[in-house]
Symmetry: C2
Subunit: 353 residues, 2 copies
């Protein structure tokens, strides 16, 4: 089987990005894979570390604090949606995980699982989108890997992005640091990402198109930290939405929370889409928002810093942390009632990120 391929005279066709497709040979470790990596990935991501051409990247040790490492698989369907695609999402998601831990993002590693038959033009578009997102955030994609699975054993492309960042030694943030009396701040509207993907998936057209909020939050976080506010917790409410994220924190910190429903920013189009499809926006994924929990006395200062950043213009104080052995997250509704916003349980919106 190999013999026909082992003469030096064999030459590869050009990659043919415009009309070509991913083939199994692109994952086999041989010449076709080398070509794909060189022509497509290395060209888009070009940097000195990737150019080392070894099985990994040799990097300077992060200076100025402790190191943070985070990893995320991205399996969003469809690959392209209003406001973004799996490429930008995979960069933003990992940058945001670093950012909400207080870390400055430094480097990314990217692994691709491609399905045989994926148009190379789609892959190019996704890789360009990743490169743009990384460049905009000032981080480099320093190493990577590509595998190909047979048609019907994957779904276009899955991307795992791993991020390395550095967090100052004196900055202590964590889901277990919320204290009764703390203020709960949210950096903007909820549900945009999930409903953008959902409307694309269901082929729904709304009068006002819903766009994903996918964005890198490192700049917003830097401004928040620079404000000097005593921040205890930051987290990005992705899968499971705001309600699930707050329940996680309540559990870790052994506290309860009370939210004011009317204070939670929500676009009318997203509210309408949620109502139409039967979803609760509290459980819908966001990809460019964060929750911050800080000392009550610093809430105004922190809110001002958030609103001064382009990605935090619609920030709001949405509630407070309570002493509560039941660790309930409660919602004061617009109608004066109170309901418990429990963890997401069940299968809401698979493959949203």
């Amino acid at each position: 089987m190999m013999s026909s391929n082992t003469t030096k005279s064999s030459t590869l066709r050009p990659l043919g990005i415009r009309k070509g497709q991913v083939e199994l040979s692109h994952g086999s470790g041989g010449r076709a894979m080398a070509q794909l990596i060189e022509e497509l990935f290395c060209t888009a991501f070009a940097n000195e570390y990737l150019a080392q051409g070894n099985d990994g990247a040799v990097l300077p040790v992060p200076q100025g604090g402790r190191m943070v490492v985070t990893t995320d698989a991205h399996v969003v369907s469809p690959l392209f949606f209003p406001g973004g695609d799996i490429g930008s999402l995979s960069v933003h998601g990992t940058i945001n995980d670093l950012s909400v831990m207080g870390a400055r993002p430094l480097w990314l590693a990217a692994s691709f699982i491609l399905e045989e038959g994926l148009p190379l033009a789609d892959l190019q578009r996704i890789v360009d989108s990743m490169a743009d997102a990384a460049r905009a955030a000032g981080v480099s994609i320093v190493t990577g890997d590509t595998k190909v699975v047979e048609r019907g054993k994957g779904d276009g492309v899955f991307i795992t992005t791993t991020g390395v960042g550095v967090v100052a030694d004196d900055l202590e943030l964590g889901g277990d640091r919320a204290k009764p009396g703390d203020a709960i701040l949210l950096s903007g509207t909820i549900g945009d990402h999930g409903m953008a993907v959902m409307s694309q998936r269901e082929n729904l057209a709304f009068d006002a198109p819903i766009e994903s909020d996918t964005a890198a939050l490192h700049g917003l976080v830097a401004d928040m930290l620079a404000s000097g506010a005593d921040i205890h917790v930051m987290r990005d409410p992705t899968r499971g939405g705001l309600a699930t994220t707050l329940n996680e924190i309540a559990k870790q910190s052994n506290v309860g929370m009370i939210l004011e429903e009317a204070s939670i920013p929500l676009r009318p189009a997203v509210a309408a889409a949620c109502e139409f499809l039967g979803f609760d926006p509290l459980y819908i994924a966001n990809e460019g928002k964060l929750v911050a929990i800080c000392a009550e006395s610093d809430a105004a200062r922190l809110l001002a810093a958030m609103r001064a950043h382009p990605l935090g213009r619609e920030s709001a104080l949405i509630g407070s942390v309570q002493a509560d052995p039941h660790r309930f997250v409660q919602l004061k509704t617009r109608f004066g009632g109170c309901r418990i916003a429990d963890w997401l349980s069940g299968e809401q919106l698979p493959r949203i990120c």
Copy 2:
């Protein structure tokens, strides 16, 4: 849709690992995912960093050199094969990528893409295998991620493992450092992993069962470095096999190579299986072997160090680096002839790792 799930009274069934399956809810970010992560992943991988419970791990900055980061997606099919499984493979593969760069492995991050319907018992077995492999190598799996895709959109489980290690400041290794006259050493037999997977996939039974060579090479590498030999290049010949790996190095270093076919270790059972199935063992993946290229004067010393290690007992000097503007990797055959061992080109053995 959510309302039925948002009462605090809702309780989860036990995970039911023995008879249960992966469901879409295990990837949705809610309570079922939290349960899967806690009961299955965190229990198996338990360490202080994972216990931080945030979106990533806060780690001490690596001491004693530069940092190395590497990432690898693992999509091997079948998930279980003689001598290993996707779990041990995903740990060994990443440790080996760090090791052949001269780095001491420190931490791993693991991202899982699960297919709906995967038996939880299989996932448990795979996760336990990862935990065992990591423990044996003295590295911790410090952070992770889990996504679930619908039945028929994945294939059981894909695992991306990212590794962080540290390499001494004065150690310079790289695929571009081979020099004419250098000796080429190989740490043992070739083709074992690929043919073990292949025989399992094709349901072939040989008289002598072929086992994968999957193993973590950090200990062997430590002994090789301690020998004081002037090593220029190390690399693990995985996908594409020995021939492809040597072609990569030849290209990067702008040299040629001449190998003695008779000196390349090969198990008779692997040779027979290759002949039966029409494969050339030079192109078959290995998961517990490395190639080392060193100054000719240090070859004997390095070979002795390799043979003294349990994973290098069958190490051999297999050839030498040549000045060659064509960058040919040539093979002197057992019959006195000479043939070119080109890059793998075409689709040989997809999903072998």
